[in-house]
Symmetry: C2
Subunit: 106 residues, 2 copies
DNA sequence: TAACGCCTATCGGAATCCGATATAGTTTCG
DNA sequence: CGAAACTATATCGGATTCCGATAGGCGTTA
């Protein structure tokens, strides 16, 4: 299991504040990144399958949902993995600011 | 050309404050990440080749260097690509803090 | 010269990316 | 009503990237 890519981090983050189904995740990610990160169907659903296999998300569909819709929730492990990756980003940024000020901020 | 992975961002960052050869990059990345991110030879040299092909780094070896050592420097495009990716990380972190406080900081 | 650390390179299997394609249900609107 | 557009999921296939294993060459030191 490789560390999640930025795309996958966005998927996890979209689930961090509430359950979502795949298509809604896609829309939210594209919205919050201003279209910077897009998720084609291949990327999206294969990533979801992988995350479920790895236990970072789990299905949370309710009988009230439309039958062909699958809702997912972030697991505890998923939240932990998200935190780890965000920390990595924070560390890179901190280091970048330290050694090369003017690279990010201007 | 896909966006650079976190590993590759670390390679670019290692070059942002001065020219380096591959092995020195590897050592610096492992040092600054406290061993969190390791670079095996395959990852390292293939990434370097790709970055050179894409024009993000260029060879900067001098005749004074040992003959089998290849030193690289970050190009203008490389610095720009690094900046773009760091901004993405910053944006994710900002968003994560906004929607899910307590995910990162505690 | 043997051993060790430095330095680069390639191979191959696995993982991931991602557009194209397919399928279906739902909503919108003329 | 019926066509178009949107929602929603799934799979295929080629390309890219990862990354450990393997294999060198060079320089220094014992």
């Amino acid at each position: 299991m490789r560390p999640p890519s930025l795309r996958v981090v966005h998927i996890l983050l979209a689930l961090s504040s509430g359950d979502q189904h795949g298509y809604a995740i896609k829309q939210e990610v594209e919205k919050v990144t201003g279209g910077d990160i897009r998720l084609g169907p291949g990327t999206l659903y294969e990533a979801i399958q992988r995350l479920e296999e790895d236990g970072l998300i789990e299905e949370a569909s309710s009988p009230a949902d439309p039958p062909h819709r699958r809702t997912y929730r972030l697991t505890f492990a998923g939240r932990a993995a998200l935190r780890v990756e965000l920390r990595r980003y924070g560390a890179v940024l901190e280091h970048a600011r330290a050694i090369s000020p003017g690279l990010i901020d201007p």
